[in-house]
């Protein structure tokens, strides 16, 4: 009796009263609804305001918009591919070896997250633009980088390059090198090691890194805005097209393009949630097996 009272008193002291709990939950759900939920619904409502026919029209039958979609579909995979190779190399070097300057290199990888995309674009312009350092040489050899496809790729790659590496490094550090060392001692060579041991171990983190960096690449605005020269039907990617239609007061068209990118964001989140769920289950499974005395 006395015991029960104490424990109830204890619980009251480390658990919040019901009214506090309810108020905080309502506050948090309200915040998320106002900040994320309503804007998300708004994108699709505005996009479909004039009906699905008009929606389809503004995406496919507007040649400049259609071109921007194709361009984004070409720029993003190249940038993601570059990120992927870089991410694997950087994660292998940083998570598997200790060397002088390792902390500095890790900090440097985060750099694009802090540098304003506009500044990135400007610096690329100063490098490759007509008045830039390589400008005269590029012009003499008739190579176009800014206001053309290569510039869009470089700008996108700069802004998104840490994404894959940042997903991989913590996972590879947590995994440790034991399996790889064992494989090497059993005679595995470089590519064999990568293909048979490392890649299967990190596949989910790698997949998420690729998907996230793809979402970032398709949505990149600031850096691409500066280096593209916004030539409609030529160098406008989807986000740039959104801005141009907005400036032309073509809101339905603008929202139609925006809704496609919003769907991409939703898919990205869906994949992330599914992968997290999967990883948690695999972890639990491993724990269960170990507890049962079995070797994994």
């Amino acid at each position: 009796m006395h015991d029960q009272q104490t424990s109830r008193g204890l619980r009251r002291a480390h658990e919040d009263p019901v009214w506090v709990r309810r108020t905080l939950i309502v506050g948090a759900v309200g915040t998320m609804a106002a900040l994320v939920g309503v804007p998300l619904v708004n994108v699709f409502v505005e996009a479909f305001a004039a009906g699905p026919g008009a929606y389809w029209d503004s995406l496919v039958n507007d040649p400049d918009t259609f071109h921007s979609i194709l361009l984004t579909l070409m720029v993003a995979p190249v940038a993601v591919g570059l990120n992927l190779v870089f991410g694997l190399a950087a994660a292998w070097a940083i998570a598997r070896f200790r060397f002088r300057g390792r902390a500095f290199l890790t900090a440097l990888i985060d750099l694009p997250f802090t540098v304003s995309p506009v500044v990135v674009g400007l610096f690329l312009l100063l490098l490759f633009g007509r008045q830039g350092f390589f400008g005269p040489w590029l012009q003499a050899h008739d190579v176009k980088i800014v206001f053309a496809f290569p510039g869009l790729v470089i700008a996108t790659a700069f802004v998104t390059f840490p994404v894959v590496a940042r997903e991989l490094i913590p996972v590879m550090e947590a995994l440790g090198a034991e399996e790889e060392i064992a494989a090497v001692s059993l005679g595995a060579r470089g590519w064999q090691l990568l293909r048979r041991i490392t890649l299967p171990n990190i596949k989910w983190a790698l997949l998420y890194g690729v998907i996230l960096s793809n979402a970032r690449a398709m949505g990149e605005f600031g850096a691409v805005f500066v280096v593209s020269g916004h030539i409609a039907g030529k160098t406008d990617t989807m986000p740039l097209r959104i801005e141009k239609l907005f400036q032309e007061y073509n809101l339905p068209g603008s929202f139609a393009v925006a809704s496609v990118l919003a769907m991409l964001a939703l898919v990205t989140l869906g994949v992330k949630t599914a992968l997290e769920w999967k990883t948690r289950r695999e972890l639990a499974e491993g724990k269960r097996l170990r507890a049962a005395g079995g070797e994994r």
């Binding site: 919040d16 905080l24 994108v43 506009v118 979402a215 990205t268």
Partner: protein
């Protein structure tokens, strides 16, 4: 173990070499080029370019709006993180996934949507504008989109720390006679404070460079709603390349200072938790 790895595992030279090569090509070379370009200006011209009244108004607005939005995010982020870690309620998993939405949504889409929500006949504007609250084409609008952009940082920094807190510490405080409020303020809050500060700094640093979303909602009026990245673009469109580079260098310096501070904070936090 450290030296064993390098002797045993292959690919050290190749992977490190490629990492350094790629980063120099994509990151270091453009930044050096920008700094060299700004160095074309004499010191007096540089000072003139970066200290014009319009530029100073832009820096002040950028830093001020970033600080304001990061502060709002500390409150909202702490609320959401607390609720997600401590309470059970329906659709909690969905709420948790949606926290990352601002990371995944292109900034241009965010800017477009928020400006359309806050204009006079928008979903929010029709209630707020009659009350005199102008969310679109105002400084308030800039803070609002920056809150959206920086929101996940505070939640995602706080969540693991809150999950790792030992409940028995709070129980001990209760046993020793502390009220619930005293426990939260004197025991829980100090333990999560470093994470709160890190989340704040990350949201702040992210907001400093934001361009895509702000350009839609701010109206970009010089001296009033023009942030520093927008000023860089405007100078560029006037073909004032060196001046644009000079302002960009100032912006870059502010970002680096913020990054440096975050690194110090993280180191301090690691020691605090050790």
């Amino acid at each position: 173990m450290i030296d064993v790895n390098r002797r045993v595992l292959p690919g050290f030279g190749l992977s490190l070499g490629y990492t350094i090569f790629y980063m120099s090509l994509v990151v270091v070379v453009p930044i050096v080029a920008g700094i060299l370009k700004a160095a074309d200006l004499s010191l007096a011209d540089f000072w003139h370019a970066v200290s014009s009244e319009r530029a100073i108004a832009a820096y002040t607005l950028t830093v001020g709006a970033s600080l304001a939005s990061a502060l709002v995010n500390v409150v909202l982020g702490a609320l959401v993180a607390w609720v997600l870690v401590r309470y059970e309620f329906p659709l909690k998993g969905l709420l948790d996934s949606l926290v990352d939405f601002p990371f995944a949504l292109p900034t241009a889409v965010a800017g477009l949507v928020f400006s359309s929500l806050f204009v006079q006949n928008g979903w929010y504007g029709r209630f707020l504008v009659p009350l005199g609250i102008e969310g679109a084409y105002s400084r308030l609008g800039i803070v609002i989109v920056l809150v959206f952009i920086g929101f996940p940082f505070v939640v995602r920094t706080l969540q693991p720390v809150l999950e790792g807190l030992q409940r028995d510490v709070e129980e001990a405080a209760a046993c020793l006679g502390a009220s619930r409020l005293q426990t939260v303020v004197r025991v829980t809050l100090p333990a999560i404070l470093p994470a709160v500060i890190t989340g704040f700094a990350l949201a702040f640093a992210r907001s400093l460079g934001e361009y895509g979303s702000v350009v839609f909602i701010s109206g970009n009026m010089p001296f009033r709603t023009e942030i520093a990245p927008v000023l860089v673009v405007n100078r560029l469109e006037e073909f004032a390349y060196t001046e644009a580079a000079a302002i960009a260098i100032v912006l870059l310096t502010i970002s680096f200072a913020a990054l440096f501070l975050i690194n110090l904070l993280e180191r301090w936090m690691a020691r605090y938790h050790a």
